[in-house]
Amino acid sequence: MSGKGTILTFTVNVQQWVPGQEPYIIAIVTMDEQPDLRLTALLAGVPLDIAPADLIGTRVETRFLARDDIFYPTFVPEGAPA
């Protein structure tokens, strides 16, 4: 897979599930190769106060996030700097 897709919907999580946690964006991304396959993942490289109309439908690509020896797929806008 190319790791590229389109944002179907998203939410900015504000609640601190862990004390001190900063707000972050979660998105459901529709993958290019299979339109009925979606991934829920973190989204970076986007301001937290972005208008929904400016984010839904945005093209994104995968960046892997390494944490505790596990590589999590996350998304950034297509063409965002590495």
Partner: protein
């Protein structure tokens, strides 16, 4: 349609324990309080009860307050001989236990089934609140593709449904607020509600955001409490002391992918299938419904049920509840007349059936909707759903 097997059953009794924040009582204690009240309400004794059903079943302690005692534990506590037991979480949402009992009675497996749902989430969660982020553990089951990717709370999952509904259909926060505001107004005349102080639109719009676009007031309030329902065969209706609450039709269908993020129409939920099946089993129409008791674990779920049940078209829920007049107790379709889980407390599903029965019997006191003949009770959000259409008196 009168040969629906569910019409061989009716609700003969209802009961509930004390409910509220951090009662500090055990799940079994609350369960027995509700069960004994329901049995008495049905005009029965414990010796008459020959079946027990519950949601979700299993072990109350391991569930961190999400579930109460298992059916066999209650059987043992009440020293009963039973013809039928059931406990599961994979049925038609919480209503699955009530619908299973309904069908067991219709099939002749039992005459009187005690169905209960007990929660002690408030006490078990304690001062830490709902905190799914405690500690590191492997995500399993349906959490496997959600929790490791930041979507750790049901608020996150439902927020994305609300976000897409707003984007696609122009639904506004001011419209969605009417679910919470209506529930609070109704809770104001329900002595058993946890939150009864009036709520304004400003209160809603200024409430702490949890996961955009859902704020604190879009989320239900965990409580401790138990609700019990007695399902009996219609042969008993003429001897039952209270007005019979008939089960006109049930909806158990689950169409499409049972998933939080792969369901085809992410502006809606599994409610669509259950609602479609419900109406296929009755001659009654949405316009016949006098009160709608629709699950509100999050406000957007109630909106999804209004659309799925056909009270308005898909996507028109926001306009339907605009201003709140239509869904008020004085409106054409009163909803969540007890205050829902948003304001009465999260009895988790069974509270909507209890309230339906109370309204149909005319026992709702200050919050009674006059001349209530038909009620719909719906449970579940996201990938789970179940619905029941209930009528005042035996209708076949």
């Amino acid at each position: 349609m009168s040969n629906n097997p569910e019409r061989l059953s009716f609700i003969s009794g209802v009961g509930r324990s004390a409910s509220g924040r951090r009662l500090g009582r055990t799940a079994m204690d609350l369960t027995l309080e509700a069960a004994l009240e329901a049995i008495e309400d049905a005009g029965l004794t414990r010796d008459d009860i020959d079946g027990i059903a519950t949601y979700p079943g299993g072990d109350a302690i391991a569930s961190r307050g999400f579930g109460g005692p298992s059916a066999p534990q209650v059987q043992d506590a009440l020293r009963m001989d039973l013809n039928y037991l059931y406990g599961a979480a994979e049925g038609s949402a919480q209503l699955g236990a009530i619908i299973e009992a309904t069908m067991a009675v219709a099939a002749g497996l039992a005459k009187h089934v005690l169905v209960f749902r007990t929660v002690t989430e408030s006490t078990m969660q304690g001062a830490k609140g709902r905190n799914p982020g405690q500690g590191m553990q492997a995500a399993t089951g349906f959490m496997e593709f959600l929790a490791p990717f930041g979507a750790i709370s049901a608020t996150n999952w439902f927020a994305q449904v609300a976000q897409l509904h707003m984007h696609k259909y122009g639904t506004t926060r001011e419209q969605l607020a009417q679910i919470a505001l209506t529930c609070r107004t109704n809770a104001g005349v329900n002595p058993r509600a946890v939150y009864r102080d009036p709520l304004t639109m400003d209160d809603y719009l200024n409430a702490r955001m949890i996961s955009t676009p859902l704020c604190l007031l879009d989320c239900d309030v965990p409580v401790d409490g138990s609700t019990a329902i007695i399902i009996s065969h219609v042969d008993y209706a003429k001897d039952a002391p209270k007005i019979p609450v008939h089960i006109n039709a049930v909806g158990t269908a689950q169409y499409g992918r049972p998933s939080w993020d792969q369901y085809e129409d992410m502006t809606s939920m599994m409610a669509q299938g259950a609602a479609k099946q419900l109406w296929s089993r009755t001659d009654l129409k949405p316009a016949d419904v006098d009160v709608a008791e629709l699950y509100d674990g999050f406000s957007i779920i109630t909106l999804a049920w209004l659309e799925a049940l056909g009270f308005c078209e898909q996507g028109e829920g926001g306009a339907f509840i605009e201003g709140g007049q239509r869904i008020a107790r004085t409106g054409e379709l009163p909803i969540n007349t007890h205050g829902g889980q948003l304001s009465e407390g999260r009895l988790h599903g069974f509270g909507f059936v209890y309230e339906s029965a109370v309204q149909l019997r005319g026992e709702a006191g200050e919050r009674q909707i006059p001349n209530t003949e038909v009620a719909v009770a719906a449970n579940g959000g996201g990938p789970i759903a179940g619905a029941m259409l209930l009528t005042r008196g035996i209708s076949n």
